[in-house]
Assembly symmetry: D2
Homo-oligomer: 274 residues x 4
């Protein structure tokens, strides 16, 4: 029963090394969190807002459940702590993007290694930490995330990718905020969709303000901008045996909720694209 | 802040569809479960037995921890319940292989979808179910698995792949059984390795029998053959309100510990390769 | 001016090895031989018959130019003489498919090596041998062929691929034979297309017979079945210095015009798929 | 004999689109021009100089055959005339690299299309134009070129690629010039290799000067720097029917022999990397 006779099958494992010199983005998406395979497929051009499997099952608040978003952030920080090659991460709703440095050599840049390990670390942390964020809601199903690796050859294309995700956060959140306000005010989901279909931002802002007394720009930045995870110096204060305090600085993943579309964010952090 | 300006970045997501008409094997491996990056790398041709990070941390029994193996099996069954396209799975130690049907169209056969979702489902289940298998050992770290997709174009190459994994199970288990018997009897790990290096199966079988009174072939098949998960008819008996019992049959993933190298297993289950 | 400083750029050459255990088909297509990028694109579901750049320029006979077909065959034989790993080839019109053995290890099965060298050998031979087939028509432009490598994991899929090409030969040839008969009889190309659009084989056979006195099945097999190149034993007779003759047998690529859809061809040549 | 039954085989043609936003380099290499598979393989770290198949067969002059180099350049210009997306090309010995613009959309950036068509156009032109460059040497074999597509994500990596090729031109040419001077002076090829092995540029320059009275820097730039093909404005003067002359400017591929490693070349032609 020697292995050697069968070892030729290893040749079938082909190389899936990613092109050097490109930013690697690994993007995770929750499977069946907020989207319904059936109904939603019919209106793919609309932001998806229908309550659905995983969100529904665990009674996520609408349009945003802060506990769920914080759990996503925590899982993302765990991934960044595991992989120092990740420069930054951006998350919204049930998705998260991790940006590996252009010159990253982790696992020889093999796509399946990067995709699977990020997914595994993220999912594992999400399940482990669930109870801290949802102490009263037992986990009723295994959350699942898919992931893919995408290459961006230039700083500009990387920034445009991140801008795309943050613009998407805004568009979805504005829509969802309106949608759920309408639904909570008594409309059916069909009526709410019908009222919002094809409307512009201005209309939606005005709707929120005039009908629901809501100034959209005062909503939490976490909802409007998503979560940006970067490494920052964090000071830890330790009290020694003799009662003195000692400060220690460490680079740690921190969650911000700020604009990453304009230049300011990048100018303040030149090391991110260096 | 319209998305449209940035949407061109979607073009950077390339197609990673797997060749049709081939068996797809998604193989997961525990990261840092039983192998030490450092020391083990030096002796890659030997089965790895050094206690290490995840196993060590959670005091897995040596050479096999039945609780850990059962937890792996449970995670594998969850994956098979999620994906009906999986024909069978084979697991040993901290690895598991899932075999998707040749004509499987799941997610358009996109490699990263299959790899990431299998990994996510497996890891998520592993963490969720941990407490049932290790009620007295809190999970001290997030278990991580990497995964890859490999294509096998013919039934023969698929069977040879599975034979390779099961032969590997046997070779590793025989070595590890000897190794830990020697260590438990007082040898250092270095001495144990030295004594076993380059020896044949006969020597190891004889060593176990004469020195430790152990007949290798009487060890549990789970350890010697690994775990095979196939779908089998399972009868569920339900008692109705009026006290009568009702039987219902369902196809369910079941774990077997049997030979899959010889033809018998396949002849009894012609549907597996059909 | 040492190279070493720049040699890192070699890392950007990624592996493009083709999956082992699959038939490799390299298919070449003439660029701008019979198809017009413009007009033809509008009616992609129709066989393309419009006289066009390369064919037009060199006054290829319609619907089939035997000289051009023989030149294609000669180029294909040169490719097969260069690469013993090619089991057989099939050609029609301005395309040719080369079938490399499943276990072929040529150039480590690297796709770009196989695709480029087949293309180079074919094109080079086509140009070199032009004058022999078109002694009165100087080559007025460089003929160009594109190529791709496609994998077929089973004998059945390979045979279906070849059947697809031979069925295509028949469909195109029947259409083109009718089309050019109509055009030569005085119809415009538009009228000819209109008359044939959507008609079945029976109609076309009947049209040829009743209007043009042509029994389609008596047309040369080269036109109706395309060209199949296989290696066959060929006897060479040599006269020695003393006047005696010596026979020598050699395996050489030979062109056949026969059915490869039905089993007979394959049963007579079991080595082709062995 | 409908095609439809077999058309499913088209699904086996997978997408091989190259990542957008990267420079595409298609590099061709002569097969069996200057290298011998056998002997040369043993001394891979040395520049290859052994006379060999194609060169030998056609009595190429050593160390450089200007006719052969001019034929290569002509084939390269034909490729550039065919494909306007090519920004520049660089050639030396029996190899040529073609640089497609970062935003090139030709054939949807499909690797096999680009690789095969460049190869086909190059080979076809090489054979067609042979007689003009070698009027007294009939083509005795079909020249063959392999090719591959490599992506460079940044201007710097592209320039480093081209610098790598030009530095290689210099290193090979200096070695070969010395080698053939020694051989022509009566040394065996083995002795010549032995004398040059491991020596630095200075030694080789000195050797040429002191023993053969040759100032390396006065050799033709074509040999020392290779060929760079760029598009330049060329003025064509036409005499009209009434005897007047008319000038017309056109962008045409032109061959230069100049340094492309330093910045000057690029600063004078900012459009190349724009």
């Amino acid at each position: 029963m020697a292995c050697s006779k069968y070892e030729y099958v290893k040749q079938y494992e082909l190389d899936d090394r990613l092109l050097p010199g490109c930013w690697i983005v690994v993007r995770l998406d929750g499977k069946g969190f907020t989207k319904c395979a059936g109904a939603a497929a019919a209106e793919v051009s609309l932001p998806f807002v229908r309550a659905c499997r995983f969100c529904d099952m665990h009674k996520f608040e609408k349009p945003n459940d802060e506990r769920a978003l914080r759990l996503m952030d925590e899982a993302a920080m765990a991934v960044m702590q595991e992989y120092q090659d990740i420069r930054l991460a951006f998350g919204e709703s049930d998705e998260y993007s991790f940006v590996f440095a252009k010159d990253c050599q982790l696992y020889g840049r093999r796509a399946s290694k990067l995709v699977s390990l990020v997914t595994s670390c993220f999912t594992g942390t999400y399940v482990r930490r669930w109870v801290e964020h949802f102490p009263d809601t037992p986990l009723a199903a295994t959350p699942m995330f898919d992931a893919r690796a995408v290459l961006y050859p230039s700083d500009q294309t990387l920034r445009d990718y991140l801008s795309w995700r943050q613009a998407d956060t805004h568009v979805n959140n504005l829509y969802n905020t309106c949608f759920w306000a309408l639904v909570k005010s008594g409309k059916t989901t069909t009526e709410a969709h019908a009222q919002l279909r094809g409307t512009l931002s201005d209309y939606k802002n005005e709707l929120l303000f005039s009908e629901f007394g809501l100034n959209y720009s005062t909503l939490p930045e976490r909802f409007r901008k998503g979560s940006v995870v970067v490494r920052q110096r964090v000071t830890h204060v330790k009290t020694t045996a003799d009662g003195r305090t000692k400060e220690k600085e460490r680079l740690e993943p921190c969650v911000l909720h700020c604009d990453i579309i304009r230049d300011a964010f990048w100018k303040e952090r030149p090391h991110l694209l260096a």
